[in-house]
């Protein structure tokens, strides 16, 4: 067997682990911090010649269902998503523990304590407990890779899906990791009709539930998942620390420090649920106090559930936020009575992110805000959430919510009389496919009146440019069937549909005014405008558009309207000159900003104009 060492990101290590362990079907919907898992599976499959169906599914529910059915045929399957994606997949996941699986099924859910890039910092291990799903909690990229194989074997032994729950600091860490050849089992798909199991009407569920509980009891006795005693030192103090995930790695490194020597035993919990029964008993016998360190909620702590446990419930561990190493050091010093201070992190704010110079979304937001200065602007999840920086985004909730929010705002305001405000919803193309279609049908059928602007940049930009169904390109780069957005919009019953390039600000403003008239007309309803401009991060997109030479003339009065209302990184206010200048290293010459200067001091020159 060929073995080689490579530096892999946690997500790549998981992808590699899936390929090496004969995963045959891998599905996902992109979301930080999980996005690189599926693309790594596709890349490593191509590299090793492994035959794997990989797909960027339309959303996490579909992704889970595709992988689940593949497992019914006896093949190994995996599905990856971020933690809030698990909310979307909750329905099929919760039932699948009752019905079980055949081929190994690994559900990879990347949590984001902090959060860094998410709308909640929910703990998916808590969801695993709720759904009765065993969950593994890796502390490093290397361990995450090893756990993919363990998860498949555990899943096959008990015919139960198994969750692998890395967090941001594992997903986006890199480490030197051993890589080997893929193991090939040559499994042929086979499906046996089993109505009590795969159809499982309520009559069959008590028996399935009883078996599920039995499986969990047996897993909780698995010797292989008895938490490991990693370092000793608590003989005298009769204190122990039990930690899981990357917090274990932080704690282990801190406890290597000389002033912690001889102070505590340290255990690593690799399977936080169901927690090993014997371990709970051992702790009770051996220690007078046990500190539990885990992210983000007290899953282990709750299962131990005794008064000698210190953690979130006792105020020893903060009840929210990421447990960074400096916080862990502080907790350990307090718990073990080790004097000294952990230096704290910097308190500055840092620079906030902003839409890229030349981004088509900025042009669309500018047109929307100029046309409807008093509008209400529900929006959604993607790069375009950054429209909040310049007052073009009023709400952001969860994938697809903006369209229903538009409807909710309309129905509430419409009760108060005919002069309802202009409601302009913005949603990205990938988000529209993911969760925008049922709410659009709902809004149309319930007679809501508002404008939906689909910001179509032809990709899933924020998570790394995964293709959307409109492109007809699959995760491995091969051709699929394209699903055009306009046809979906018309099929949802929308009677007003226009398309434009938002770079043409005047044209878009004209269409928005027309849309508003339609919304308020006797026959009006939901109006949809597709604002289409490719993401300019892609090199091809840049090649296809003219580049203007931009400058700011003497006419600039230093009012900063462009800097504040347009917020393009390439427009920089120079306090010494009391004027705005163009940062030539960032400007891509899109020329949209000429509209943003109230005195016409931004000019564009070039062959095309």
């Amino acid at each position: 067997m060929n073995r080689s060492e490579r530096i892999l990101m946690g997500n790549e290590a998981i992808g590699r682990g899936l390929v090496e362990n004969d995963c045959r079907i891998a599905t996902s919907y992109p979301g930080t911090p999980a996005s690189e898992i599926l693309s790594s599976v596709a890349d490593f499959a191509a590299e090793t010649g492994a035959s794997i169906h990989t797909e960027w599914s339309v959303n996490e529910k579909a992704a889970y269902e595709v992988a689940l059915a593949a497992s019914y045929t006896g093949k190994r399957a995996a599905v990856s998503m971020k933690q809030v994606g698990l909310n979307v997949a909750a329905d099929p996941v919760t039932r699948s523990t009752y019905l079980g699986t055949k081929g190994g099924l690994v559900l990879i859910v990347a949590d984001d304590p902090g959060p860094h890039s998410s709308q909640t910092e929910q703990d998916s291990r808590m969801f695993a407990l709720f759904a009765k799903l065993p969950v593994l909690d890796p502390s490093s990229p290397r361990e995450a890779k090893d756990m993919t194989g363990e998860a498949f074997r555990l899943s096959e032994k008990y015919e139960l899906p198994v969750m692998l729950r890395p967090t941001t600091r594992v997903c986006h860490a890199r480490q030197n990791v051993d890589c080997g050849d893929p193991e090939r089992k040559e499994v042929r798909s086979r499906f046996e009709r089993n109505i009590p199991r795969w159809v499982a009407t309520p009559a069959f569920l008590p028996e399935l539930h009883r078996r599920l509980n039995e499986k969990l009891d047996r897993i909780a006795e698995e010797e292989a998942f008895h938490p490991r005693l990693v370092s000793r030192g608590g003989d005298e103090s009769r204190r122990a620390v039990a930690a899981s995930g990357v917090v274990f790695a932080h704690a282990a490194e801190i406890l290597e420090g000389g002033d912690f020597s001889g102070k505590t035993d340290l255990y690593q919990v690799r399977l936080p649920y169901p927690l090993n029964r014997k371990f709970i008993g051992d702790l009770r016998k051996r220690y007078k106090e046990v500190l539990v360190l885990e992210e983000t909620d007290g899953v282990i702590e709750m299962q131990i559930g005794s008064d000698f446990v210190k953690g979130r419930s006792t105020g020893h561990v903060p009840r929210l936020g990421e447990l960074t190493p400096e916080i862990v050091e502080k907790i350990l010093r307090e718990f073990l009575g080790v004097p000294g201070e952990a230096p704290s992190a910097g308190q500055g704010k840092g620079k906030r992110p902003s839409l890229c110079p030349g981004c088509g979304h900025r042009a669309a937001f500018f047109a929307i805000r100029e046309t409807f200065p008093k509008g209400i602007f529900p929006s959604d999840i993607g790069c375009y959430t950054l429209g909040m920086n310049f007052g073009a985004v009023d709400t952001c909730h969860c994938m697809g919510a903006c369209i229903s929010q538009g409807a909710g705002f309309y129905h509430a305001f419409a009760q108060d009389g005919p002069g309802f405000p202009s409601i302009v919803v913005t949603i990205g193309d990938s988000t529209f496919f993911h969760a925008g279609i049922p709410p659009l049908i709902n809004a149309v059928s319930q007679g809501a009146r508002f404008i939906v602007v689909i910001l179509d940049n032809g990709t899933t930009a924020m998570t790394g440019h995964q293709p959307t169904p409109a492109l007809g390109i699959r995760s491995d780069g091969s051709r699929g069937a394209a699903v055009p957005i306009p046809e979906l919009v018309r099929a949802a019953g929308v009677r007003f549909l226009r398309e434009c390039d938002p770079y043409d600000v005047e044209c878009m403003e004209g269409i928005l005014k027309e849309a508003d008239r339609y919304v308020r007309s006797a026959e009006g309803g939901v109006a949809v405008v597709i604002a289409k401009h490719p993401c300019i991060v892609g090199r091809e997109a840049r090649k296809g558009q003219p580049v203007y030479r931009m400058s700011v003339t003497e006419e600039c009065i230093g009012c900063k309207a462009c800097v504040e209302d347009f917020e393009c990184g390439a427009l920089v206010f120079d306090p010494d000159a009391d004027r705005v200048r163009i940062d030539g290293t960032l400007c891509i010459g899109c020329a949209v900003c000429v509209h943003a200067c109230p005195v016409g001091a931004i000019t564009a020159e070039g062959e095309d104009r």
Binding site: R174, N176, I254, R352, M462
Partner: protein, 168 residues
């Protein structure tokens, strides 16, 4: 050998490529390595930081006051990320003005060369020339040859050499 390095900048400046270069250099020298990176929305021009830990470590994150070296591609991040650097640690900062206290106008040097995007390599080349990194310049050069996309290789190498030869 054990060394902890923070690389601080804003999205789009090439912090991730710099991280990868140094991490691969560690492996080239036979050291275990752990890094931590910023991905997601912050990459759109917001503050980003990478941690690189070469040697026998377990956690991917550096504690405040423990980094041996700091590479700052954006001087504006000093207030936020300087506390990671230990007392006596070395500091290299991309900023305009005279080359004092680890300052180097890497952005200007890169732009004069005609490729503003290689400021990251100018800064690493400079840090390497001062012997501040766990690895020698030749290791970094070898890794750069291996990991640069073919069409970028010449530009990347020259960026590194501009920084390496900088006499500030």
């Amino acid at each position: 050998m054990k060394q902890q390095i923070v690389i601080s900048g804003i999205g789009g400046q090439g912090v991730l490529f710099a991280t990868r270069l140094i991490a691969e250099a560690a492996m080239e020298e036979g050291l275990p390595v752990l890094t931590s990176e910023t991905h997601g929305m912050a990459m759109r021009g917001g503050t980003v930081i990478s941690h690189v830990k070469a040697g026998p470590f377990q956690s991917p994150l550096i504690r405040p006051g423990q980094a041996d070296a700091g590479l700052f591609l954006h001087g504006g991040n000093l207030e936020l990320h300087r506390p990671f650097i230990r007392e006596g640690g070395s500091l290299f900062v991309n900023r305009p003005g005279p080359a004092a206290g680890g300052g180097i106008d890497a952005a200007r040097l890169a732009q004069d060369f005609g490729h503003p995007v290689i400021a990251n390599l100018v800064l690493i080349g400079h840090a390497a020339s001062r012997g501040a990194l766990f690895c020698g310049a030749d290791t970094l050069r070898a890794v750069l040859r291996r990991i640069s996309p073919p069409e970028r290789l010449d530009i990347n190498r020259q960026g590194f050499e501009i920084g390496f030869g900088f006499e500030g």
